[in-house]
Each structure stands twice: as C-alpha cells, then as structure tokens.
Symmetry: C2
Subunit: 337 residues, 2 copies
Amino acid sequence: MRLSQSNRRILMARVPQGLPTPADFSFDEVSITPPNDGEFLSRTILLSLDPYYRNVMKNNPIYAERLVPGDVMIGETVAQIVASRHNDFAVGDYIAVRNGWQEFAVSNGQGVRKLNPARAPLSANLGVLGMPGLTGYAGVIVLSNLKAGETVVVSAATGPVGSTAGQIARLRGARVVGIAGSDEKCAYAINELGFADCVNYKSGDLVAQLNRACPNKIDMYFDNVGGDTLAAVLKNLALHARIILCGMIEAYNMATPPPGPFLGPVVGARATMKGLVVYDHLHLMPELQRVVGDAIRAGTFHYREDISEGLAAAPEAFCRLMRGDNFGKALVRVAAL
Amino acid sequence: MRLSQSNRRILMARVPQGLPTPADFSFDEVSITPPNDGEFLSRTILLSLDPYYRNVMKNNPIYAERLVPGDVMIGETVAQIVASRHNDFAVGDYIAVRNGWQEFAVSNGQGVRKLNPARAPLSANLGVLGMPGLTGYAGVIVLSNLKAGETVVVSAATGPVGSTAGQIARLRGARVVGIAGSDEKCAYAINELGFADCVNYKSGDLVAQLNRACPNKIDMYFDNVGGDTLAAVLKNLALHARIILCGMIEAYNMATPPPGPFLGPVVGARATMKGLVVYDHLHLMPELQRVVGDAIRAGTFHYREDISEGLAAAPEAFCRLMRGDNFGKALVRVAAL
C-alpha cells in the first residue's frame, strides 16, 4: 500500500444556517500523525454520510461528539490499517472506525470493529450491516412489539435505516408501507424492498395517501423524519399503535426546534411512542450481521448505495443527503480498495 | 321524596368559540318522562363537571357521546332512584349514572354503578372514587411502570385526576412534584396531598422551576394538560422516562388542534409516551375503591371539592373549570340529599 505524504481533511468552516451548503466546509492538508504505543494508523476507504452529522454541527449537547468551526468533520468510515503499535490490530486489517472526513487517522481501537471482506461488501458495514442497519433492526426487534399481519409504515424508506426496518418487519410477517420523496424511490421500495405499498410525500395530501395505503390503519410507525410526516401518521393510527421515534431530519436543519404534532390522536389510539438511540443496542450487532447477512445471501433483503467519488465530493454529497436528493445509503469513496 | 312537576335542563345552545361562556348554554323545562319496562327514573343529586365535556361540545368523533346545539349537556351524576320498572334497581337506591345537566332522567341501567353512602361520601364517587380517580389510578398502576424512589410530576395536581395519580405514586414510594395554577393550590398539594414540591406554572419559567424541583430529573410525568406544560417537562426528562398522556385541556378550547412539543428530547431520553383512556380500565374500579377508600379512612389520602349550588350554577361553574379557576373537584349540587 502506497501512502500519500500528507493527510487531506475536510473541516466544518462554520455552523450552517438551515440546509448546509458546500461553503460551510473547508479543506486543509496536514502531515500524517504516526501512531504511539497502543495505537494504529488507518487509511480511510469509505466515508459514511448520515443525517445526524447535521445535528452535531449545531454543537448539540445530546451527542458525545461535538463540533466547533475548525474541527475535522466527524463520521463513521471503513478503513484499512497501515501502521500499528496496537497488539489487537495488524497492518492490513479492515475496520469500521470513526476516522471522520479525512484520509488518515490514528485510533486506540476503542469502538473499532474488525471487518471480514469475504463475508459482505465492505461498504455494507456502513449501511445495512452497520449503525444505520442496527438502528432499524433494534427499533423493530426490541422496541416495536411487532406481530405478524400488522401494518408497518416506515419513513425515509429507501435509506439504510428505513429499508432495514421495513425489510425486517416484512420478514417478520408485517405488511410494510414506505414513505419516500420520489416516485422512483417508491417504485424501488415496492419492487426491490418488497414493500406492499409506498407513498410519495411530495405528491399531495399525505394523510389521505396513508389512509388509502393502510386500510387497516397503522399498527407500527418507524419515524426517521418527524415533522409533518409524523403528524400525518398520527391521523391514521390503529388502536394500540407503536411509534418508534428515531430521528427528526427536518429539525436538524433548524437552529430552534420546530413544534411537534398535536398528540391528541396518541391518547385516542392508546398509542405508545418510544425514543430509540442506537448506542443502547450495540450488543445486537452480531445478530444484525447474521440475520441481515443471511437474508442478503438468500436474496430476500436488498439495499442500495449512492456513492460519490473522492473526499472532495463529500460536502456536496452531504448537502444532497440533507435535501433528500440521495437515493440509497450515502457514501464517499475516499480511496480505492 | 317529593317530585317537582317538571324537569329542568341545561342545553348546549351553541358550540363555544375558545373558552366557553354562560351564553353557550340555555335552560328549558319539560315534563318528566316516566320509565318503561326495564327502566328507572332517577333524580340528580350531584353533577360532575369534567374538562373533557368541552371536547365533546365540539362534536369530537373520538367520543361515543356527541353533542349538537339543542342537546342536553352530558355529564356523570350521583342520583337517587325515584321510580323503577327495572328488576335490579329499586326506589331509594343511590347510583352513579350519566344523567347529564338535568334534574331527572330515565335509564336502562347500562353503565350504572350502585353506591353505598355508608362507605364514602356520595360526592367522592364523582371524583377520587369515580372516573377521574380511576384515570389517575390506572395511569400510575397500569401504564407507568413506577418504581419506588422515582421522581413523578403531575399537572393539574389538585384536581381529582392529578391528586389521585400523585397520591397513589406517593403511596408507592415516589417523590411527587405537582404543577398547579396558583400558590394556594401549590401549598395544598404540599401540605395536604403530601407532595414533595409543587410549582406554579403562572410564576415564570416552568422549565427552570421544574429543573429546581426535580434535581434527579423526571422519571414519570402524568400529563393532564398538554401544551407548554408538556414541552417544559420534556426538557427535564430522566433517562427512560415514561409520560402518560391523559388529557389536553388546553386544546379542548380550540377549534383546530395546536401543535405539540418538539419530540427530540423523547429520543434523547429513550422515553416512552403512552395514551391513556379510562374506559379501558373499568375493571379496576373495585380495586380503586378499595385502595383509595382505605387510604382515605387511614388519613393518608386527601381530596378537595369545589361545589356550586343549584343546577342553574352549572354553566358558570363549568366556565370557571375551563379557565382553571376551580380549586378541587368541580361539582354542582342539583338537589339536597
């Protein structure tokens, strides 16, 4: 493996106002830091782009990670170890590690997962076999009390969280209805992900569309977006519905949180809403990888990736993600395998 | 028992705009309907005033009962049977029955509870030993998964629902903090209901007041009001908090439901919100009456009533209730015992 002589990085230049733009980011180039005892140096191969980064960019206290202007952007990555002074990690190992938006980074191994490239494409470890997949999996398996035959609705249905939640629910015998932002995404959800139906929230009255797509109403909703979408779901709840609150993409772009939906329907439906944070469920990662890995190999589970080429493409790719213009798991290829 | 020759009634004259006013009601006087076979006639002694009537006045489809202008106002009452052609009910029996806002009504006995005036004051069957008490009891006992030592917050703390929820939580070993609308109510919650603290939501920043009153944050919140109060609680949640959504008094006065709180904190706290409808828990009525009845006799459970005299006082008393100007369970004495 040939090392470049420097480490190119992308920094948060300023806190975005509303939707992020490429001008909110800056580039620099520094020398590579060598690892100390108990550390290793890895080279970033793939960078995962996830909506919650936008919330961290506000220096939101709910996250362990913080960002202030001038910091290297955070992010989960797939990387390969290029120098090691750590007993458990060897040069050549493939890992999932939080290198952020840069070509090289040093780690002490904490929170790092070793990856087996023979088992699944490395990129899947940032999507359906990684933290997004675990989020969808834990929401359905741990929190939702799902029963076969129930109607499940999933927003951001073609992304890695929503597509995992929806497909796991389908594999458990639910009737799954997606919500997505284009007819093309909806066709993919029905034809590839095996959802019973999918509604385009940009095509008019979402309350009425959900009412038509869910004749037995909604027993479980996996919410990735909050906002008007959540409000429309609440108007279509079945008795004893469960709502998994996972992310509020809409609010991430706002300096002040917007109001939420009127909760009267939650009372009327005797519904339950639960907050989901994936870090509570890390022990399920091996189970996710077995269940979803097997289903991928059996051809009963599908995923899609939206890969941008080169670290320099990351800012614009992230802005597209936050506008909902990506289609599939947003990734940046930082280096060739 | 002497019968008057007519039945005086109060009707909904029109759907209120915002807070109700006495002009939204009208009076009439009709002849008394005699009971048919399988029915009985009862005379109303006490009328219960409950905030949800305001929601029924909007012809809200979530209720089994509906009201359109010209209908007799609905309501739970304590009454005494004055004529009976029903095998299970005899003249002289005291009952809890939904006579509404009128002096006499005929019933077929469905949903009617017989009352024992030797066991508890008849009025308590409309409050802490009736549907409001059952609401508070079921929320704490069935839905909240309460553990001793936890911090519990209750809004509308001195009303029959809130005071039952709070006192049951206290008897189960919780530290209970009330939210009420005057310093006098707060003093009552602390000194009579045995709450650890009580904050007056009209005295400035509720988020900061709750933060001071709940140094270990809020493990369980019994919500009777929704709106800004709920939003302030969400900013003080402990990890794995439970929120029982029971009523949204604020919204009852509005033609269009207001937005709810931003739900981001529910995710961060891994909290659970559950809708409570008392009709799901009617089987617990004997348990409520035993537990709360025993505690009242033991002097460890208290309640307060706000009684207006005469059926004609009902409209203004109901308007006071909806403004939050009552203090204790709102009742109207329609006839002497």
